[in-house]
């Protein structure tokens, strides 16, 4: 039995099977090699996107039937009332889901409202123009976030239970985790925020560090989950940093933004909007940095893995295997580094918000 195992998540299939693209692909790219390249490119594109069900891999049987290994997740839509249904109804974008008289179809990892036959209209730039319902689905990424949250909760509350019992020496997971927690406290929080205020921010800093780290590491596993390369996730994290900075800031912080002391008054007027913009740019750089680093890492790594399938000879494949292996190691470092940088910079911004300026210095 000849099976073409492509190891691609259904998102790719979902995309390819959309009648329009599939047809176009067949017509324009007859050459097998080009087809493969496009396939890999699309695969990478879709790996970077979210999906409505948790799939591990998919394959095509001899008869051309597509099999998906994974499980469906709930789709939650707000479209004139709450609509909840299982993502299995969408059939990976292959069919139209009918819920309470409305029709929905997923296209490019987004749910659109369609008619009964599933028609999707496009504008001249090839974007779907169908109406998009408000989508609060438990997607693959939401599911992963939830799972990571549970994992972290059990891991750390178990660890805390041992501390609460009065164990003076860390044991079990604490032996590994405690030095990291202490590192965040002693080398990130205290030097940047100061001994007086750091305790208020410890919960956020610790949670954000472990969350980003674990979720980045999970992105490197073959599970195919990829959370931190979603701009929505990094925006949510950066927004929290911004909100915490803004709401815990003291008088002196605002004083330095709106009425910079120690400069002549025309300069104060010029500086105020710049400083105000700066408060937004700082967390914005946080969200872009995390998003771009993880996305770039995934694209490069997957491109190199994809090269193996394009070369199809022992030299090229083994070379790209070696390269992919080296890059995976680098990505392991990046996973921790990005978590560290996010935590570090958040601490720095919190520190600037509670810093007590000595005006004699100016």
């Amino acid at each position: 039995m000849r099976r073409k195992i492509s190891l691609k998540p259904i998102t790719l299939l979902l995309f390819l099977s959309t009648s329009f693209f599939f047809g176009q692909e067949e017509a324009e790219h007859v050459e097998v090699k080009t087809d493969k390249k496009t396939e890999i490119k699309e695969y990478i594109q879709h790996h970077l996107q979210d999906s409505y069900d948790f799939s591990l891999f998919s394959y095509e049987t001899e008869s051309g039937e597509t099999k998906h290994i994974g499980f469906p997740l709930p789709v939650i839509l707000w479209d004139n009332g709450l609509k909840v249904f299982s993502s299995s109804k969408l059939h990976h974008g292959e069919s139209v889901a009918e819920v309470d008289g409305s029709f929905y179809k997923s296209y490019h990892s987004k749910i659109y409202k369609t008619d009964a036959s599933g028609t999707i209209n496009y504008d001249e730039e090839h974007h779907a123009t169908n109406e998009k319902p408000l989508d609060f689905s438990i997607t693959k990424n939401v599911f992963t976030i939830f799972a990571i949250g549970l994992l972290m909760f059990f891991m750390f509350s178990r660890m805390a239970g041992k501390y609460r019992k009065g164990n003076t020496v860390p044991n079990g997971a604490g032996r590994f985790l405690e030095p990291i927690i202490l590192y965040i406290r002693d080398d990130i929080a205290i030097p940047n925020i100061g001994k007086k205020h750091y305790k208020r921010y410890m919960s956020f800093l610790l949670t954000v560090f472990f969350f980003i780290w674990i979720i980045n590491l999970l992105g490197l596993t073959p599970l195919g989950v990829n959370v931190t390369n979603n701009i929505a996730v990094t925006l949510a994290l950066a927004l929290l940093t911004y909100l915490i900075t803004t709401f815990t800031a003291n008088k002196s912080y605002w004083g330095h933004i709106f009425w910079m002391p120690g400069v002549p008054w025309p300069m104060k007027i010029i500086l105020a909007p710049i400083e105000l913009l700066g408060t937004l740019i700082k967390p914005f750089s946080l969200l872009i940095r995390l998003y771009a680093n993880i996305t770039a890492g995934h694209i490069v790594l997957m491109s190199i893995i994809g090269l193996m399938f394009i070369f199809k000879n022992w030299l090229g494949s083994s070379l790209s295997f070696g390269l992919a292996f080296a890059l995976s190691l680098l990505e392991l470092l990046v996973a921790a580094l990005q978590a560290y940088i996010f935590t570090m910079l958040s601490a720095l911004y919190f520190g600037s918000a509670v810093e007590e300026h000595n005006h004699a210095d100016h």
């Binding site: 996107q49 979210d50 939650i76 987004k110 974007h127 408000l134 989508d135 609060f136 689905s137 438990i138 997607t139 990424n141 939401v142 976030i145 939830f146 949250g149 972290m152 909760f153 750390f156 509350s157 660890m159 805390a160 239970g161 501390y163 609460r164 009065g166 164990n167 003076t168 604490g174 405690e178 927690i181 202490l182 406290r185 305790k199 410890m202 919960s203 956020f204 610790l206 949670t207 969350f211 979603n230 701009i231 929505a232 996730v233 925006l235 949510a236 994290l237 927004l239 929290l240």
Partner: protein, 166 residues
């Protein structure tokens, strides 16, 4: 940028925000606070232990110094006691010697006085004895001499002859 905005999913943003805030709050209550408190308690415990050890060491040193001082004092006291005792001994011996001397002198004096008075009495008695003897002898001689008239005359004459008439 257009792609970024297009990729942005409100649902994912919403869930991430809700789940993450929930996670922060849960972990704060059930993990971070007890862990950080325990670690802080342990650290302060270690610090206290170190401080008290340092204190104990200092106290030990003080104690040793005190002991040394005490020993020194005891030694000095012993010496002074010994010295006193020696002084007292010497003084007693000296005193005893002086008293004995006095006593001896007194006894000797008394003895001398007694000897002197004995001597005087003896001399006085001797004198009377000698006087009595000489009187007796003189009587006997006289009696012998004057037993005949011749002899008496002769004596008278010699006496007369010795006695010149002036």
């Amino acid at each position: 940028m257009e792609k970024l905005i297009n990729d942005f999913s409100i649902g994912l943003f919403f869930w991430q925000l809700v789940l993450f805030i929930g996670l922060v709050l849960l972990l704060r209550k059930f993990a971070w606070k007890p862990i950080l408190d325990a670690v802080e308690k342990r650290e302060s415990g270690i610090e206290d232990a170190l401080k008290s050890a340092e204190k104990a060491k200092l106290e030990m040193q003080n104690l040793q110094a005190d002991n040394q001082k005490l020993l020194q004092e005891a030694r000095m006291e012993r010496e002074s006691l010994l010295k006193d005792a020696r002084d007292i001994k010497n003084k007693m011996i000296e005193d005893a010697k002086g008293e004995a001397q006095d006593q001896a002198n007194k006894i000797i004096e008394q003895a001398q006085a007694a000897i002197e008075s004995e001597k005087k009495a003896a001399i006085a008695e001797l004198k009377t004895q000698v006087a009595n003897l000489s009187i007796e002898i003189a009587e006997k001689v006289m009696r012998e001499e004057l037993s005949s008239s011749d002899k008496q005359l002769k004596l008278v004459e010699s006496m007369l002859g010795e006695t010149k008439f002036n």
